[in-house]
Symmetry: C2
Subunit: 333 residues, 2 copies
């Protein structure tokens, strides 16, 4: 067992200065205790719990702005809550900090947490801060609430249901490439928008909450591993297949330009991950209500296919051919 790195920061000082002011939920008790307490009757409905972790150099650039690292890890978790229809309540935060992290880094990181909490109306509840000789590792366990038994799950899609996706697909993969310094020869504004969507995903909370309350969706997930992989999770949990029309998948501006230039980009964008949109299934009769819900929550929404018998996710090109190399599962790990 090696000794921990020298204590540039002390845990209690760090928590008191930067994190305690963010623990605004009553159950967090200003981080004065070592646990958070969600009192019976202090929240309504079912509690949805999601955990997503990120590692420096794997999930974000080592040089990333600490405020954006904070925003991104919370938004990745919020995206899961959105896909289940849960309203954000609070989160537990684990920080494994290398010795290069100093007070200025923590101040910026905390500013990112604060901005996110204001935007999504939730609170730090508690967590743990430890020293690590390795890369900065952040784990968030997020809590949301949903009316009892209304949470959207992966299982439950029925054959004949239509398949919907919010927003657009492609900026996850393209934004990552741009953030890594690849020159994709895209117009500056379009490249910047793709990079921004990658760095600061837009969890579809308002739409997800409305969708769960409506009872219209039969199954739902968010697009984190890639559109095809995440559709595959719904297909597998619902024991059915999916027929997707490639031409109906809403691509980002960057995605449209890249696929027009080189058709090889289409499968890459559909499997690329990190889009943090909501995909869900619903019976055809729900279409009009879904469109109204999308408009009310100002959420772009597209129908991209329908569920079928079988187990595969098949993407069909406009000429009727199946998009190659997309029938096997994609593994993000």
């Amino acid at each position: 067992m090696t000794s921990p790195p020298p204590p540039i920061l002390d845990e209690f000082g760090l928590i008191a200065r930067h994190l305690a002011p963010l623990a605004t939920h009553k159950g967090a008790d200003g981080l004065r205790d070592d646990v958070a307490i969600l009192a019976a009757g202090s929240f309504d409905g079912d509690l949805v719990i999601n955990t997503d972790a990120v590692v420096s150099g794997v999930h974000f650039l080592e040089t990333e702005n600490p405020a954006l690292i904070a925003e991104r890890v919370l938004r990745v978790n919020l995206s899961d809550l959105a896909a289940k229809g849960a309203k954000p309540l609070g989160y537990q935060l684990t920080l494994a900090l290398p010795s290069v992290v100093d007070d200025a880094w923590m101040a910026s990181f905390a500013a990112g947490l604060r901005a996110n909490q204001a935007a999504f109306n939730w609170s730090l509840l508690g967590g743990d801060t430890v020293r690590s000789p390795g890369p900065l590792t952040i784990s968030v366990t997020a809590f949301g609430t949903v009316p009892h038994a209304k949470a959207l799950r992966r299982g439950g899609a029925q054959i004949g249901d239509e398949i919907w996706v919010t927003g657009w697909i492609g900026d996850g993969a393209l934004g990552l490439a741009i953030a890594k310094g690849h020159d994709l020869s895209l117009p500056t504004g379009i490249a910047a928008a793709a990079e921004q969507k990658f760095r600061l995903p837009q969890p579809r909370i308002a739409f997800g909450v409305a969708l769960a309350e409506s009872g219209l969706a039969t199954a739902s997930a968010d697009v984190s591993d890639g559109l095809i992989a995440d559709l595959g999770h719904i297909a597998s949990a619902s024991a059915l297949g999916m027929a997707i029309e490639a031409a109906s998948v809403p691509l980002s501006d960057a995605g449209r330009l890249m696929t027009e230039r080189d058709a090889e980009w289409l499968p890459r964008l559909l499997t690329g991950g990190d889009d943090y949109e909501v995909i869900f299934t619903a019976p055809p009769l729900a279409a009009q209500q879904l469109a109204a819900m999308a408009e009310a929550t100002r959420t772009p929404l597209c129908r991209i296919g329908h569920t079928i018998a079988g187990t595969e996710v098949v993407v069909t090109l406009p000429n009727g051919d199946a998009l190659p190399m997309l029938t096997s599962g994609y593994t993000h790990f």
Copy 2:
């Protein structure tokens, strides 16, 4: 951004083989979804939430048995639940895995989780598994339940309350030294017992649950940072001081032998941490009921001092002197 290490394990296979069978709670849905759901009415009282993380090489030996790593990180979390009086319900698990982790490692780690779940009657609920180029990092967010408004907190101790501790102090620090290979010249059985208590702490769940239900305690915490530091947390949250009699602090067999040999060991054991006992305060009138509760739950229990005006934790030796170098706070970090 560097590429993640090669996928020796794939996340979904790993989860399906080793972790899904542990997700026995209904809300975990066998890990078929990416979230856990605690349904309204599926648990009683308030929800107590605790997060504790461990890093290989910092909190446990890199060569440690994976089953014991799993047991220890869960027990460290259970110790916090015990100190709050919460009955274990379930936990979220984050694993940041270096490439040396293989299927055999995961099988042993999962066996440790399984043994712990059987012993403490709780369940894996969900989590996240990511690859890391750094040391194995594990974060657990643990959930327990306590009757409404009965959770024991750090704040609430009153001047004149007596201070109690379960079990014994010292095996945390001494067991760590022994596990690190230091020869303390202790009898084999006593050294082995200290090492075992360090590697496999005994969270005092039964006693903690009874204590919360009784309403007798005014404040409570577990001994993770060290007896003096954790008493300091109660003192600080309760805005009072503490007078501890050194001779009353229950030492482990190893601790007794070491302090008899060299008085310098006493302050080390009282600040050493990792004992995972419960410390709490209660009015003097509660003493008889507390003794009965300790007997009913087969928990060793000692009275070690009382609360006083002021802000300090003062440890007094049998000759009336204050134990030196113990009045300032100890920082585990």
